[in-house]
Protein backbone atom coordinates (compact mmCIF):
# COMPACT_ATOMS: atom_id res chain seq x y z
CA UNK A 1 0.00 0.00 0.00
CA UNK A 2 2.76 2.40 0.91
CA UNK A 3 4.63 1.36 -2.19
CA UNK A 4 1.58 2.18 -4.29
CA UNK A 5 1.18 5.60 -2.71
CA UNK A 6 4.89 6.26 -3.11
CA UNK A 7 4.62 5.32 -6.76
CA UNK A 8 1.64 7.61 -7.30
CA UNK A 9 3.41 10.49 -5.53
CA UNK A 10 6.43 9.93 -7.77
CA UNK A 11 4.12 9.93 -10.77
CA UNK A 12 2.53 13.21 -9.72
CA UNK A 13 5.96 14.74 -9.16
CA UNK A 14 7.07 13.69 -12.65
CA UNK A 15 3.90 15.09 -14.24
CA UNK A 16 4.27 18.39 -12.42
CA UNK A 17 7.93 18.63 -13.45
CA UNK A 18 6.86 17.97 -17.03
CA UNK A 19 4.28 20.74 -16.81
CA UNK A 20 7.01 23.06 -15.53
CA UNK A 21 9.14 22.34 -18.58
CA UNK A 22 6.16 23.02 -20.84
CA UNK A 23 5.71 26.40 -19.14
CA UNK A 24 9.41 27.12 -19.57
CA UNK A 25 9.17 26.27 -23.25
CA UNK A 26 6.23 28.61 -23.77
CA UNK A 27 7.91 31.43 -21.87
CA UNK A 28 10.92 30.95 -24.12
CA UNK A 29 8.70 30.95 -27.19
CA UNK A 30 7.15 34.24 -26.18
CA UNK A 31 10.15 36.09 -24.78
CA UNK A 32 13.29 35.07 -26.69
CA UNK A 33 14.45 37.66 -29.21
CA UNK A 34 15.15 35.77 -32.44
CA UNK A 35 13.55 32.87 -34.21
CA UNK A 36 16.33 30.34 -33.81
CA UNK A 37 16.31 30.82 -30.04
CA UNK A 38 12.56 30.45 -30.07
CA UNK A 39 12.85 27.26 -32.09
CA UNK A 40 15.40 25.99 -29.58
CA UNK A 41 13.10 26.73 -26.64
CA UNK A 42 10.12 25.11 -28.32
CA UNK A 43 11.78 21.91 -29.47
CA UNK A 44 14.02 21.21 -26.47
CA UNK A 45 11.99 22.24 -23.44
CA UNK A 46 8.75 20.77 -24.72
CA UNK A 47 10.37 17.44 -25.44
CA UNK A 48 11.84 17.19 -21.96
CA UNK A 49 8.40 18.13 -20.59
CA UNK A 50 6.71 15.45 -22.65
CA UNK A 51 9.34 12.92 -21.57
CA UNK A 52 8.73 13.63 -17.90
CA UNK A 53 4.97 13.52 -18.47
CA UNK A 54 5.29 10.16 -20.20
CA UNK A 55 7.46 8.86 -17.37
CA UNK A 56 4.88 9.99 -14.83
CA UNK A 57 2.05 8.26 -16.69
CA UNK A 58 4.24 5.21 -17.26
CA UNK A 59 4.56 4.72 -13.48
CA UNK A 60 0.79 4.35 -13.34
CA UNK A 61 0.28 2.48 -16.59
CA UNK A 62 -2.33 -0.27 -16.18
CA UNK A 63 -0.75 -2.69 -18.64
CA UNK A 64 2.31 -3.52 -20.65
CA UNK A 65 0.74 -2.50 -23.97
CA UNK A 66 -0.19 0.94 -22.65
CA UNK A 67 3.34 1.45 -21.34
CA UNK A 68 4.80 0.37 -24.67
CA UNK A 69 2.55 2.82 -26.50
CA UNK A 70 3.59 5.64 -24.18
CA UNK A 71 7.29 5.00 -24.83
CA UNK A 72 6.60 4.70 -28.56
CA UNK A 73 4.77 8.03 -28.57
CA UNK A 74 7.69 9.76 -26.90
CA UNK A 75 10.19 8.25 -29.35
CA UNK A 76 8.07 9.33 -32.32
CA UNK A 77 7.82 12.85 -30.94
CA UNK A 78 11.57 12.98 -30.45
CA UNK A 79 12.20 11.94 -34.04
CA UNK A 80 9.57 14.36 -35.37
CA UNK A 81 10.91 17.18 -33.25
CA UNK A 82 14.53 16.71 -34.29
CA UNK A 83 13.57 16.51 -37.95
CA UNK A 84 11.23 19.47 -37.70
CA UNK A 85 13.70 21.67 -35.87
CA UNK A 86 16.35 20.89 -38.46
CA UNK A 87 14.03 21.61 -41.39
CA UNK A 88 12.70 24.87 -39.93
CA UNK A 89 16.17 26.10 -39.05
CA UNK A 90 17.50 25.25 -42.50
CA UNK A 91 14.64 27.08 -44.12
CA UNK A 92 15.11 30.08 -41.84
CA UNK A 93 18.84 30.25 -42.53
CA UNK A 94 18.45 30.04 -46.32
CA UNK A 95 15.87 32.85 -46.09
CA UNK A 96 14.05 32.03 -49.29
CA UNK A 97 11.47 34.52 -50.37
CA UNK A 98 8.46 32.25 -50.64
CA UNK A 99 6.56 33.77 -47.77
CA UNK A 100 8.68 36.74 -46.87
CA UNK A 101 5.80 39.15 -47.23
CA UNK B 1 -25.04 16.03 -12.77
CA UNK B 2 -27.47 16.61 -15.60
CA UNK B 3 -27.00 20.32 -15.01
CA UNK B 4 -23.28 19.90 -15.69
CA UNK B 5 -23.93 17.97 -18.89
CA UNK B 6 -26.32 20.66 -20.10
CA UNK B 7 -23.74 23.40 -19.52
CA UNK B 8 -21.10 21.52 -21.49
CA UNK B 9 -23.55 20.84 -24.30
CA UNK B 10 -24.62 24.48 -24.44
CA UNK B 11 -21.01 25.69 -24.44
CA UNK B 12 -19.84 23.51 -27.29
CA UNK B 13 -23.12 23.85 -29.18
CA UNK B 14 -22.94 27.63 -28.92
CA UNK B 15 -19.33 27.56 -30.11
CA UNK B 16 -20.49 25.43 -33.04
CA UNK B 17 -23.20 27.95 -33.93
CA UNK B 18 -20.60 30.71 -33.82
CA UNK B 19 -18.28 28.73 -36.12
CA UNK B 20 -21.13 28.20 -38.56
CA UNK B 21 -21.98 31.92 -38.65
CA UNK B 22 -18.32 32.89 -39.03
CA UNK B 23 -17.98 30.42 -41.88
CA UNK B 24 -21.09 31.74 -43.65
CA UNK B 25 -19.84 35.31 -43.34
CA UNK B 26 -16.42 34.42 -44.70
CA UNK B 27 -17.87 32.23 -47.45
CA UNK B 28 -20.00 34.99 -48.92
CA UNK B 29 -17.63 37.90 -48.37
CA UNK B 30 -14.27 36.53 -49.54
CA UNK B 31 -13.53 35.95 -53.19
CA UNK B 32 -10.52 33.56 -53.48
CA UNK B 33 -11.21 29.85 -53.79
CA UNK B 34 -8.89 28.79 -50.98
CA UNK B 35 -10.54 31.23 -48.59
CA UNK B 36 -13.98 29.92 -49.55
CA UNK B 37 -12.80 26.38 -48.88
CA UNK B 38 -11.43 27.24 -45.44
CA UNK B 39 -14.76 28.95 -44.69
CA UNK B 40 -16.68 25.87 -45.88
CA UNK B 41 -14.61 23.58 -43.68
CA UNK B 42 -15.10 25.81 -40.66
CA UNK B 43 -18.86 25.84 -41.33
CA UNK B 44 -18.73 22.06 -41.32
CA UNK B 45 -16.76 22.11 -38.08
CA UNK B 46 -19.55 24.17 -36.52
CA UNK B 47 -22.19 21.64 -37.56
CA UNK B 48 -20.03 18.80 -36.20
CA UNK B 49 -19.70 20.71 -32.93
CA UNK B 50 -23.48 20.85 -32.52
CA UNK B 51 -23.90 17.15 -33.34
CA UNK B 52 -21.14 15.94 -31.00
CA UNK B 53 -22.39 18.24 -28.22
CA UNK B 54 -25.85 16.70 -28.60
CA UNK B 55 -24.32 13.22 -28.32
CA UNK B 56 -22.39 14.06 -25.13
CA UNK B 57 -23.75 12.35 -21.99
CA UNK B 58 -21.27 13.37 -19.31
CA UNK B 59 -18.15 11.66 -18.03
CA UNK B 60 -19.94 8.63 -16.61
CA UNK B 61 -22.13 7.48 -19.49
CA UNK B 62 -21.03 6.55 -23.01
CA UNK B 63 -22.08 9.10 -25.66
CA UNK B 64 -24.81 8.52 -28.25
CA UNK B 65 -23.21 6.69 -31.20
CA UNK B 66 -25.61 7.83 -33.94
CA UNK B 67 -24.49 11.50 -34.17
CA UNK B 68 -20.89 10.25 -34.01
CA UNK B 69 -21.51 8.12 -37.09
CA UNK B 70 -23.02 11.13 -38.85
CA UNK B 71 -20.03 13.29 -37.98
CA UNK B 72 -17.56 10.62 -39.09
CA UNK B 73 -19.29 10.48 -42.48
CA UNK B 74 -19.38 14.26 -42.57
CA UNK B 75 -15.63 14.58 -42.04
CA UNK B 76 -14.92 12.26 -44.96
CA UNK B 77 -17.45 14.03 -47.18
CA UNK B 78 -16.00 17.43 -46.30
CA UNK B 79 -12.52 16.34 -47.36
CA UNK B 80 -13.86 14.86 -50.59
CA UNK B 81 -15.76 18.06 -51.36
CA UNK B 82 -12.61 20.10 -50.71
CA UNK B 83 -10.59 17.93 -53.06
CA UNK B 84 -13.28 18.12 -55.75
CA UNK B 85 -13.48 21.90 -55.45
CA UNK B 86 -9.71 22.24 -55.74
CA UNK B 87 -9.69 20.01 -58.82
CA UNK B 88 -12.48 22.08 -60.40
CA UNK B 89 -10.63 25.27 -59.59
CA UNK B 90 -7.45 24.01 -61.21
CA UNK B 91 -9.37 22.90 -64.31
CA UNK B 92 -11.10 26.28 -64.59
CA UNK B 93 -7.79 28.10 -64.32
CA UNK B 94 -6.26 25.96 -67.05
CA UNK B 95 -9.16 26.30 -69.45
CA UNK B 96 -9.30 30.03 -68.93
CA UNK B 97 -5.61 30.48 -69.68
CA UNK B 98 -5.89 28.20 -72.72
CA UNK B 99 -8.82 30.14 -74.15
CA UNK B 100 -7.40 33.61 -73.68
CA UNK B 101 -3.61 33.39 -73.62
CA UNK B 102 -3.06 36.98 -74.74
CA UNK B 103 -4.95 38.64 -71.92
CA UNK B 104 -3.42 36.50 -69.23
CA UNK B 105 -1.99 38.75 -66.59
CA UNK B 106 -4.52 41.46 -67.38
CA UNK B 107 -7.67 39.98 -65.98
CA UNK B 108 -5.87 37.88 -63.39
CA UNK B 109 -6.97 38.81 -59.96
CA UNK B 110 -4.31 38.96 -57.35
CA UNK B 111 -5.23 35.62 -55.86
CA UNK B 112 -5.36 33.28 -58.82
CA UNK B 113 -9.03 33.50 -59.70
CA UNK B 114 -10.37 35.01 -62.89
CA UNK B 115 -13.06 37.53 -63.59
Amino acid sequence: MTFMTLLSWLSVACILAGAFFFIAGTVGLMRLPDRLSRLHALTKADNVGLGLLTLGLLLEAPGLLIGLKLVLIWLFVLVASATGAHLIAKRALRADGEDAH
Amino acid sequence: MSHEILITQLLYGGAGLLFFLLGVWSFISHEPLWRKLIALNIMGAGVFHVLVAVAYRGLDAPPDPVPHALVLTGIVVAVSATALALAFGRRLDREDSERTPEVQGVDDREDGTHV
Binding site: - | L37, I75, D111
Partner: protein, 83 residues
Protein backbone atom coordinates in the same frame (compact mmCIF):
# COMPACT_ATOMS: atom_id res chain seq x y z
CA UNK C 1 -19.97 21.57 -11.40
CA UNK C 2 -16.27 21.06 -11.68
CA UNK C 3 -14.75 24.54 -12.12
CA UNK C 4 -11.50 23.19 -13.59
CA UNK C 5 -13.36 21.28 -16.28
CA UNK C 6 -15.50 24.31 -17.06
CA UNK C 7 -12.36 26.43 -17.34
CA UNK C 8 -10.84 23.83 -19.63
CA UNK C 9 -13.93 23.88 -21.88
CA UNK C 10 -14.04 27.68 -22.03
CA UNK C 11 -10.33 28.02 -22.77
CA UNK C 12 -10.49 25.33 -25.47
CA UNK C 13 -13.49 26.96 -27.16
CA UNK C 14 -11.94 30.43 -26.97
CA UNK C 15 -8.65 29.26 -28.47
CA UNK C 16 -10.48 27.47 -31.25
CA UNK C 17 -12.57 30.56 -31.96
CA UNK C 18 -9.50 32.77 -32.09
CA UNK C 19 -7.78 30.35 -34.44
CA UNK C 20 -10.84 30.24 -36.73
CA UNK C 21 -10.98 34.03 -36.83
CA UNK C 22 -7.26 34.26 -37.61
CA UNK C 23 -7.58 31.64 -40.37
CA UNK C 24 -10.64 33.29 -41.91
CA UNK C 25 -9.22 36.81 -41.92
CA UNK C 26 -5.71 36.07 -43.20
CA UNK C 27 -4.86 37.30 -46.68
CA UNK C 28 -1.74 35.27 -47.39
CA UNK C 29 -2.59 31.76 -48.59
CA UNK C 30 0.17 29.94 -46.71
CA UNK C 31 -0.60 31.68 -43.44
CA UNK C 32 -4.29 30.92 -43.73
CA UNK C 33 -3.74 27.27 -44.55
CA UNK C 34 -1.25 26.75 -41.71
CA UNK C 35 -3.70 28.33 -39.29
CA UNK C 36 -6.43 26.11 -40.70
CA UNK C 37 -4.32 23.00 -40.08
CA UNK C 38 -3.72 24.17 -36.52
CA UNK C 39 -7.49 24.62 -36.24
CA UNK C 40 -8.03 21.04 -37.38
CA UNK C 41 -5.56 19.65 -34.85
CA UNK C 42 -7.23 21.60 -32.05
CA UNK C 43 -10.62 20.36 -33.27
CA UNK C 44 -9.36 16.82 -32.71
CA UNK C 45 -8.68 17.82 -29.10
CA UNK C 46 -12.31 18.98 -28.81
CA UNK C 47 -13.56 15.59 -30.04
CA UNK C 48 -11.25 13.92 -27.52
CA UNK C 49 -12.71 16.10 -24.77
CA UNK C 50 -16.26 15.20 -25.79
CA UNK C 51 -15.38 11.49 -25.48
CA UNK C 52 -15.28 10.68 -29.18
CA UNK C 53 -11.83 9.16 -29.84
CA UNK C 54 -12.92 7.78 -33.21
CA UNK C 55 -13.77 11.27 -34.41
CA UNK C 56 -10.49 12.59 -33.02
CA UNK C 57 -8.59 9.96 -35.00
CA UNK C 58 -10.50 10.73 -38.20
CA UNK C 59 -10.14 14.49 -37.75
CA UNK C 60 -6.41 14.33 -37.09
CA UNK C 61 -5.64 11.98 -39.96
CA UNK C 62 -8.18 13.05 -42.60
CA UNK C 63 -9.26 16.55 -41.60
CA UNK C 64 -5.94 18.05 -40.62
CA UNK C 65 -3.57 15.75 -42.49
CA UNK C 66 -5.17 15.11 -45.87
CA UNK C 67 -7.14 18.34 -46.22
CA UNK C 68 -4.10 20.27 -44.99
CA UNK C 69 -1.84 18.73 -47.61
CA UNK C 70 -4.44 19.38 -50.35
CA UNK C 71 -4.88 23.00 -49.34
CA UNK C 72 -1.15 23.57 -48.96
CA UNK C 73 -0.68 22.64 -52.60
CA UNK C 74 -3.55 24.97 -53.54
CA UNK C 75 -2.03 27.76 -51.44
CA UNK C 76 1.32 27.25 -53.14
CA UNK C 77 -0.36 27.65 -56.52
CA UNK C 78 -2.29 30.73 -55.39
CA UNK C 79 0.89 32.33 -54.02
CA UNK C 80 2.70 31.66 -57.29
CA UNK C 81 -0.05 33.33 -59.30
CA UNK C 82 -0.06 36.33 -57.01
CA UNK C 83 3.53 37.17 -57.81
Amino acid sequence: MNPLLLGFDILLSTTLLGLALAALTSREPRRGVILFIAFGLLLALVWARLRAPDLALAEAAIGAGLAGALMLSAARRAARRRQ
